[in-house]
């Protein structure tokens, strides 16, 4: 290992980044995946950046038209935030179901996306909420969608080693409800075998303008347009059409894979559970008159 830096600001980080040139860089957020990957085996050339000291990477704020979410916010801070629960419910669900208490206390939302595991929990929730990632690098600031960050390859994001995810902007959409759920091998401390996030506009028992993202089908967040269409159908057809669309989609994503029959069945379970959650949340928000769920 050549060096360890803990920059106090984005500006300092960028300056240090410029200095370190072509050396192998490790950007460490919560470190929960990084520790397992490296197991302390670092090359002589490795330069480590501890991202935890930059205030720009922190904070959960309601900015009227959108939510600002610092990339270094942890799963625990996210699922215990009332603002997130109200305006980004699917993300709250995902953060609460990830790992164990100890992991949730360290693991960050930015790290979860950057790690790009197909079984990651928060990317599908961020994607369904239409979140955009604000990325900084030596060449400046740019805004990317969750899918653009994930790219086509599992376990590898599209960012360069000098890019840093600073924050997420999650649009606030009135009258929308969202939910996330996963199925793993156990009820807790479990890696998802399949997960799904759904958001939709809710009115009098009907959904419209739905978004559906599925994790674990080769990528952390795959959009499923046919399931979105199915959700807008009338209530008598909705559930079955939703399930059919999901199963067909799984067949297209992982054709012939031995896990396919199980994933189809699990997607049907998720479909039932998520519909129930969305309906319940929709009714609750109509009742309370609070209509700014996202």
């Amino acid at each position: 290992m050549k060096g360890l830096f803990a920059p106090q600001s984005i500006k300092e980080f960028l300056a240090l980044l410029a200095e370190c040139g072509k050396n192998e860089k490790h950007l460490i957020a919560g470190g929960t995946d990084w520790l397992i990957k490296t197991r302390g085996n670092l090359s002589e050339e490795a330069v480590l950046f501890d991202l935890s000291k930059m205030p720009e990477l922190r904070g959960i704020e309601n900015k009227e038209s959108f939510l600002r979410l610092g990339s270094m916010e942890t799963m625990t801070s996210i699922h215990s935030s009332g603002v997130i629960r109200l305006h980004a419910t699917a993300l709250s669900d995902a953060a609460a179901s990830m790992g164990s208490v100890q992991i949730r206390n360290r693991a960050t939302v930015g790290g979860n996306l950057a790690n790009a595991s197909p079984a990651a929990d928060t990317p599908s929730a961020l994607a369904v909420l239409g979140a955009s990632a604000v990325v900084f690098s030596l060449s400046g600031r740019r805004v990317l969608s969750v899918e653009e960050v994930l790219g086509p390859c599992p376990n590898k994001n599209t960012l360069s080693d000098s890019d840093i995810i600073m924050e997420f902007c999650i649009p606030l959409r009135k009258e929308y409800v969202s939910a996330f759920k996963k199925i793993g091998s156990r009820s807790e401390v479990s890696i998802a075998r399949v997960n799904m996030a759904v958001s939709a506009r809710y009115e009098d028992g009907n959904f419209s303008d739905a978004r559906v993202f599925i994790g674990t089908l080769g990528s952390a967040a795959k959009r499923c347009p046919s399931a979105e269409t199915a959700l807008s159908m009338e209530t008598s057809l909705r559930e079955q059409s939703f399930k059919d669309a999901l199963c067909e989609f799984a067949g297209q994503m992982i054709p012939g894979r031995s896990t396919l029959p199980y994933k189809k069945s699990a997607l049907m379970a998720l479909a039932e559970d998520l519909l129930e959650m969305l309906e319940e949340r929709g009714r609750a928000s109509e009742k309370s008159g609070e209509k700014s769920h996202g």
Binding site: R186, P261, S265
Partner: protein, 746 residues
């Protein structure tokens, strides 16, 4: 003695190592680097069945301080890691290192350096070229492929057991029912991974410190391979971070002792979780058919077994285990005629061996799932059927094994069924279209030692009462984490009246403690515990006799005190006077040879809810009822049962070590090997039936192994009742349940 007047028996005495453990002061082998020791890591085969074409250590050995021993350096002696006494004639097919790797994780070379990190780096620099051969992974064809895996010409290892007129039983039967059932290969998952330390000592003694279960067995294995006398091998049981049978057989001890002896330096071998999973031992997978002949009223007339046991790459103790399974088949139900044939085959997978229950979880899982499915098909009530056939107290084991003892299995079942609400909950329920709730139970038995088997069972201890009134029990105990040393201290305290906090119970050290058959066969509380009681009585007798001589007046021992002419004598003071004036120390020795080997029993009940879409099983309620004779320490007993439930659920639902067709393990670590964790553990209710077992200390008998025996069958029976399915291929993973539900619909 009236139970209610016990000072220590049945009391929740806090274990003597509790404070150290919770404060991190209780050190395990890998916590304490030994001065000047080489740290060894094993170069393991990445292939399932391959011979080494060439091995090049030049680059690795070039690193200063690195020592490497390979399969080319070893003594050619073959041994069997499950043999724990000379002359047991377990078939030897294993060497300490090998040029023919027979499973992923097999030992090719030992790479050593002053630090583990350096040893691991050096290991990565050893170049090995392999000639890869086909993997042997399918039980059904393993015997035919045996030649590619072993050069010894043995296709399989057979065993059988038969009594009664089996043909007559089957021809007289009103019903004949059979099922084919498979139990999985399972990792022990002790928190501590395997490690061992060997130190050359003056006088040509090799000292071996190992968290093991049979020090005298380790000594035997080392003597066999190194060709040195037993007296030159000192095996000390190290602090144990869990075993569950995984550390019962010798795994790295012989290799470590050999390396230390050869290099004349202490050698410490350490492993990671992955290495422990791949290269130590597993529970043996078993697959086979059980067939029962029943009369019109539901009495069992006869039972046939045809089972295949997966030994993994080496035979190890799995032939012993296969025979043990057969011997357990006649100790639960009254089976007038029985035929058991077992076949052990070797496959290119991690070797199997002992694992909590030693075949008992396998055989009882098989018979209890079968019994439930049979009752359903024949329309018999599963409780009534069992009540009719379960053994009663002091019945003989028809196979010729030891008398069954004070069996309370019928009481276990009756009390359990009532407490669990069996009758009221028998009908499965469906909610929200996809959640199926059902109940199940299973009965089981397990032993209490080796008496009346082919293995010798005895224990030799001495109790020394010191000049301050404290005491040391010098015993060859292996504390495995269950609290055995504290339980024995409670027994000594109860007999002698000495405060438990003033009693020290030693663990085994082959140089200083006397012979004991080891911590196996669920013998510790029944045999060693009784030995502790008897040696305590001998010490008390000696003390009263010596005190009588000292005072020239009759001294007797009453209610924990020495009494002379109505006056209480203080123990420490009396011992001091005896030592000074009579030049006698109070140390009694006793060798206990049990003449009984009764059965322990357990009946477990589970209520599960199965999600037919996710295939996940939630255990809503759990009840464990055990016939344990007498709890020495009730919280220890409960601890064993909770842990047994956790292991059994894993074997029923999620724990397995699968291999692909090339013999590549699909689970190498806890990311893919799934144990049940705390959030998924049910609230478990426990009922103990304590009617006092003759021959056990204060009536106690075993609990550690039996507590995991009925769990898997109880869970599987509940799932099958909930779904109306006949699942028999364990574990019932979500994918298997989803598939079964789809099949049921068709």
């Amino acid at each position: 003695m009236d139970k209610r007047s016990y000072n220590y028996i049945g009391k929740n005495i806090i274990r003597c190592d509790a404070a150290d453990k919770v404060q991190g002061r209780f050190l395990y082998l890998s916590d304490e680097p030994f001065p000047n020791a080489l740290v060894g890591v094993i170069l393991m085969s990445p292939h399932a069945n391959a011979t080494v074409r060439s091995i090049d250590v030049s680059e690795a050995i070039g690193i200063e301080g690195v020592e490497i021993l390979t399969y080319l350096d070893i003594p050619s002696v073959k041994y069997n890691s499950g043999e724990w006494f000379p002359g047991q004639e377990d078939f030897p097919d294993e060497t300490i290192l090998t040029g023919h790797a027979r499973h992923v994780g097999d030992r090719i070379a030992l790479v050593m350096a002053e630090t583990e990190e350096k040893a691991r780096k050096a290991r990565d620099l050893v170049r090995v070229e392999y000639e890869i051969m086909p993997a042997v992974t399918v039980l059904e064809t393993a015997a035919d492929m045996a030649g590619t895996l072993h050069e010894d010409g043995e296709k399989s290892f057979e065993g059988s057991l038969c009594y009664g007129d089996i043909d007559q039983a089957f021809s007289a039967a009103a019903y004949i029912e059979s099922d084919t059932i498979a139990t999985p290969k399972v990792h022990h998952a002790a928190m501590e991974t395997h490690s061992v330390l060997a130190i050359p000592r003056p006088g040509n003694v090799i000292e071996v410190r190992t968290p093991c279960q049979i020090t005298f067995g380790v000594q035997h294995s080392i003597a066999q391979v190194l060709k040195i006398p037993l007296s030159k091998i000192r095996v000390i049981k190290a602090n144990m971070g869990g075993t569950f049978g995984g550390k019962q057989e010798v795994v790295f001890e012989v290799l470590c002792a050999w390396a230390a002896n050869k290099l004349k330096r202490p050698v410490f071998i350490n492993t990671t979780r992955e290495e422990t999973i791949l290269s130590t031992r597993t529970r043996a997978a078993v697959k086979g058919k059980v067939e029962t002949a029943v009369d019109a009223e539901g009495l069992i007339l006869g039972r046939r077994f045809e089972l295949t046991v997966d030994a993994g790459a080496y035979l190890t103790g799995t032939k012993k285990l296969m025979i043990a399974m057969g011997k357990k088949a006649s100790r639960l139900y009254r089976i007038p005629a029985l035929s058991y044939t077992g076949s052990v085959v070797r496959t290119s997978t991690t070797p199997a061996g002992a694992c909590r229950g030693y075949g008992s979880p396998q055989i009882h899982t098989i018979t209890e799932i079968h019994t439930d499915l049979m009752c359903r098909r024949l329309g018999f009530d599963p409780v009534g059927f069992r009540l009719k056939n379960l053994l009663k107290e002091f019945e003989e084991d028809l196979s010729g094994g030891a008398n069954i003892g004070k069996a309370r299995v019928i009481e276990c079942l009756k009390r359990g069924a009532e407490s669990f609400g069996w009758e009221e909950n028998i009908t499965p329920k469906v909610s929200r279209g996809r959640f199926f709730t059902g109940i199940g139970f299973a009965c089981c038995t397990h032993g209490n030692g080796y008496y009346k088997t082919k293995y010798h069972d005895f224990s030799n201890m001495s109790l020394k009462i010191l000049e301050d009134g404290s005491a040391i029990l010098r015993a060859s105990i292996h504390e495995l984490g269950s609290g055995a040393t504290t339980a024995l201290a409670q027994i000594v305290g109860e007999v002698t009246g000495i405060d438990v906090s003033k009693i020290t119970v030693t663990e085994t050290d082959t140089q200083f403690t006397s012979y004991d058959s080891g911590c196996q066969a669920s013998r510790v509380i029944y045999v060693c515990g009784e030995c502790a009681r008897l040696v305590s009585e001998a010490a008390v007798k000696m003390l009263t006799q010596e005190a009588s001589k000292l005072l020239d007046k009759p001294v007797r021992f009453s209610q924990g005190s020495l009494v002379c002419e109505g006056k209480r004598l203080e123990i420490g003071g009396t011992v001091r006077e005896i030592m000074k004036k009579r030049r006698v120390s109070i140390e009694a020795n006793f060798e206990h040879r049990p003449e009984m080997n009764p059965a322990s029993f357990g009946v477990h009940f589970a209520e599960v809810t199965v999600d037919k879409l996710t295939g996940l099983v939630k255990i809503n309620r759990y009840l464990a009822v055990h016939d344990i004779g007498q709890a020495i320490n009730e919280s220890f007993v409960r601890g064993q049962i909770y842990g047994g439930i956790q292991m059994g659920i894993g074997m029923a639902l999620c724990e397995e070590l699968p291999y692909d067709s090339n013999g590549m393990p699909k689970a190498r670590n806890f990311d893919k090997y799934h144990l049940i964790n705390a959030p998924d553990m049910p609230d478990s209710e426990i009922i103990l039936i304590e009617d006092g077992e003759p021959g056990g200390p204060f009536g106690a008998k075993s609990i550690g192994e039996i507590s995991t025996v009925p769990v898997s069958a109880a869970i599987v029976n509940a799932v099958n009742r909930a779904l109306g399915s006949s699942l028999t291929d364990l574990p019932l993973t979500p994918a298997k349940i989803v598939e079964a539900v789809a099949d049921l619909k068709k």
